[in-house]
């Protein structure tokens, strides 16, 4: 398994974020197949979505959001599924989250960045104020994308394709 750092690099580079990475750490490029080329997110957006996804669903004993390439999945979702209105809203939403987390967010230390997101998450779910709806919406998409992935479904969620029976009572 690649390190999380390698995945993050590869991902951002694969959708055109090489210069951004270089500017904030000088990390070598990792080539990915061309069919993974960016379709919707620009490099900055990709970097943001990648970092947030990684904090929300990190790699533990099972793969995390970056391992299953959630940012690329959302990129495709926005490019193929969303209409222009949804695309604009999504883009505006990311911008709002960027403002809420602060301009230097991507260059913050791992710990500092995670703490900041944790605070944002708290604010977003305490009473669910509307000013954080964009964050809640992005978090929902990240989570849905993760659990729709093969690893997310099989390893983490223990999804069974053919249960074969119905048991209304399983003690846990």
């Amino acid at each position: 398994m690649k390190t999380r750092r390698e995945i993050l690099q590869g991902l951002i580079v694969s959708i055109g974020g090489g210069s951004l990475l270089n500017s904030c750490g000088g990390i070598a490029k990792v080539a990915l197949p061309s069919e993974d080329a960016a379709q919707f997110y620009n490099e900055e957006e990709t970097a943001w979505v990648a970092r947030i996804s990684d904090f929300i669903i990190p790699r533990t004993e099972t793969p995390g959001a970056l391992d299953v390439n959630v940012p690329r999945f959302l990129d495709g979702l926005m490019a193929e599924w969303a209409n222009s209105e949804t695309q604009e809203n999504h883009r505006r939403g990311i911008k709002k989250i960027q403002n809420q987390l602060g301009k230097g967010y991507l260059t913050l230390s791992e710990e500092g960045a995670r703490d900041l997101l944790e605070d944002l998450d708290k604010s977003a779910f305490e009473g669910r104020p509307s000013e954080y709806s964009e964050y809640r919406s992005l978090k929902s998409l990240i989570t849905q994308a993760y659990f729709a992935s093969e690893d997310g479904a099989l390893l983490e969620r223990k999804w069974v394709a053919v249960p074969g029976r119905w048991d209304p009572r399983v003690e846990i």
């Binding site: 929300i56 599924w81 944790e118 659990f147 969620r157 223990k158 029976r165 003690e171 846990i172």
Partner: protein, 565 residues
């Protein structure tokens, strides 16, 4: 000499039964299906795992706007990217509504029609449903009583395979059932609370057309038991739920008596004024635009309540200037559906140490009690509730937290939530109707449907009461965070139970069909889809269409043998 003994128009829920019953009685049968062929091994997508579903299985928003602007909003829970080929494209199959009204005509044009996508709830009508019109002086009396149709329910259920419990309720008669899907403990708790607080109300297992103990007959047709996958709207490789494609059409096929022709859109029935019979059907080929005529001794219309009425309205002749078999002027009228839009949900506690295994096809059902065991209602008729109590799960990501804890929270079943929603009876009203649009046609030159359907006062009052009742029942079980949105009646047609457009009755002056689903005006013409329904009851109707179809076929063949038709 005719081309066939019988022509069956439509291969869906009831058409499949017509084909089976007529073929098994030795008739040479032509089944006409207006859409393309569905082959399970090619067209089913039930085995597609989540990670092979494109874009969370969402149809692109542009495509929805272009092709599925009625189907998708109407059935968003079932119309997905992977199975969109089961639903019609609205731009190719347009219809119109009278100004100020709306209608959801939700369809699948292909082999087996909507029997591929149905929700499989299978409840008999009860004795009260056949007498209510007469007792209340509403519309006309049914020419049939429960006892007459009971053996036919037995007959079709045995073949279909319905999982359910025999609950002994007179208003929702027990049938021939395979083992049901056991209630969750939360549902059993809810049942106990509701039944003790509200005498005369019952919470029972949903009765669903799924095999749980397949018979030899069902196995011979290649069907096996339900695997609790809940992928039914995508087809079923196990053929565990009933559809024409899994059961009736294969049964018809194996007799060697069935011919099925796809892409054949029936435009008119040909009528012979001398013999006073239909002689055959005229079709247009959906692909080639070629026109063809097929002759037969008897015709069964199973095109669905709306389409069958439209075929009659299109079949004008000197004898029937207003449409075939329409001397009563009732064809297209009394169009009914069921009405939803009232219910409640809430959390039910005490079950946090439990989860479930498997994904069952149905949950709980609360049979109608209004005006049966409780008589003090400000409305007539009633409603049943469908619902379930199950772990909410967290996979939507809508809980607080990030990181390991958030990720692992999804392993927990989450709180248990109970949800119930009403399905109410819509009263027959001759002003609720479908007619042929005076000047708009589809791409084959057929007049498009024009709907004019409104709910009446009774439906509005009833659903308001259904909402209050739902909240009260959840309260009786100690549910918390009870959420019950203001009543918002579903658009007519949205429950996909359209019926009543050629009602049966004893008097040819005010009904289209007799008690055998046989046209009063045209003795070799039968309509056995939802068109015959004289009132709607509140139960999901498919199993009733099946029972009436089997009975009508038996009768038609007897009349043919006796040379009456």
């Amino acid at each position: 000499m005719t081309d066939f003994d019988a022509i069956v128009v439509g291969s869906g829920m009831s058409g499949g039964w017509s084909a089976k019953e007529l073929c098994e009685r030795g008739l040479k049968v032509l089944v006409l299906e207006r859409g393309p062929e569905i082959k399970p091994e090619r067209d089913y997508v039930d085995q597609l795992p989540p990670w092979e579903q494109k874009n969370l299985d969402r149809i692109s928003q542009e495509e929805i706007d272009k092709h599925y602007f009625k189907q998708y909003p109407g059935v968003a829970y079932a119309v997905k990217e992977s199975n969109k080929h089961f639903w019609v494209k609205d731009d190719e199959h347009p219809y119109e509504t009278v100004k100020g009204t709306s209608y959801d005509w939700l369809r699948g044009y292909h082999t087996a029609g909507r029997s591929i996508m149905w929700s499989r709830q299978s409840y008999r009508m009860g004795p009260q449903d056949f007498t209510a019109n007469k007792e209340e002086g509403i519309a006309i009396d049914w020419p049939v009583r429960y006892d007459e149709i009971k053996p036919w329910y037995d007959y079709v259920e045995q073949f279909v395979g319905v999982a359910g419990n025999r609950d002994g309720l007179p208003q929702l008669p027990d049938g021939v059932y395979q083992p049901g899907f056991e209630l969750t403990d939360a549902e059993k708790f809810f049942k106990a609370k509701v039944e003790s607080k509200f005498s005369g109300r019952n919470v029972i297992q949903a009765r669903v057309a799924h095999l749980t103990d397949a018979t030899d007959e069902q196995r011979e047709l290649g069907r096996t038991n339900c695997q609790a996958r809940n992928r039914c709207h995508f087809g079923c490789a196990f053929k565990a739920y009933f559809s024409s494609l899994h059961a009736t059409l294969p049964a018809a096929e194996r007799t060697g008596n069935m011919t099925i022709v796809h892409n054949a859109i029936v435009q008119t029935l040909e009528y012979d004024a001398e013999t006073k019979k239909v002689t055959g059907v005229r079709i247009v080929d959906a692909d080639t635009n070629e026109h063809r005529f097929y002759s037969s001794k008897v015709v069964f219309l199973n095109a669905s309540a709306i389409a069958s009425a439209m075929i009659l309205l299109q079949s004008k002749s000197e004898t029937f200037p207003d449409g075939l078999a329409n001397s009563s002027d009732q064809v297209g009228r009394n169009l009914m559906d069921h009405v939803s839009g009232a219910g409640a949900n809430g959390f039910i506690s005490g079950f946090e140490n439990q989860k479930v295994f498997g994904r069952r096809p149905g949950g709980i059902y609360i049979p109608r009690y209004a005006n049966i065991t409780e008589k003090d209602k400000p409305y007539t008729r009633g409603f049943g509730y469908q619902g379930s109590a199950s772990p909410l799960g967290n996979a939507g990501g809508q809980i607080a937290g990030i990181g390991r804890e958030f990720k692992e929270a999804h392993k927990s079943p989450g709180p248990w939530r109970i949800s119930i929603g009403a399905f109410g009876e819509q009263l027959p009203n001759p002003n609720n109707r479908v007619t042929l649009h005076p000047n708009k046609t589809d791409k084959w030159g057929n007049p498009v449907a024009l709907f004019d359907v409104n709910y009446g006062k009774n439906e509005h009052i009833m659903l308001e009461e259904a909402r209050k009742d739902a909240v009260a029942m959840l309260e009786s079980a100690g549910c918390t965070d009870i959420n019950s949105n203001p009543v918002n009646l579903t658009v007519p047609g949205n429950r996909i139970h359209e019926m009543g457009s050629a009602r049966m009755g004893s008097d040819p002056n005010n009904s289209v069909l007799n008690k055998w689903c046989q046209a009063h005006d045209v003795p070799n013409l039968f309509l056995t889809d939802g068109a015959f329904m004289t009132s709607a009851a509140c139960q999901n109707p498919s199993i009733s269409y099946m029972a009436f179809t089997a009975r009508a076929c038996d009768h038609a063949v007897k009349l043919m043998q006796e040379k009456v038709i």
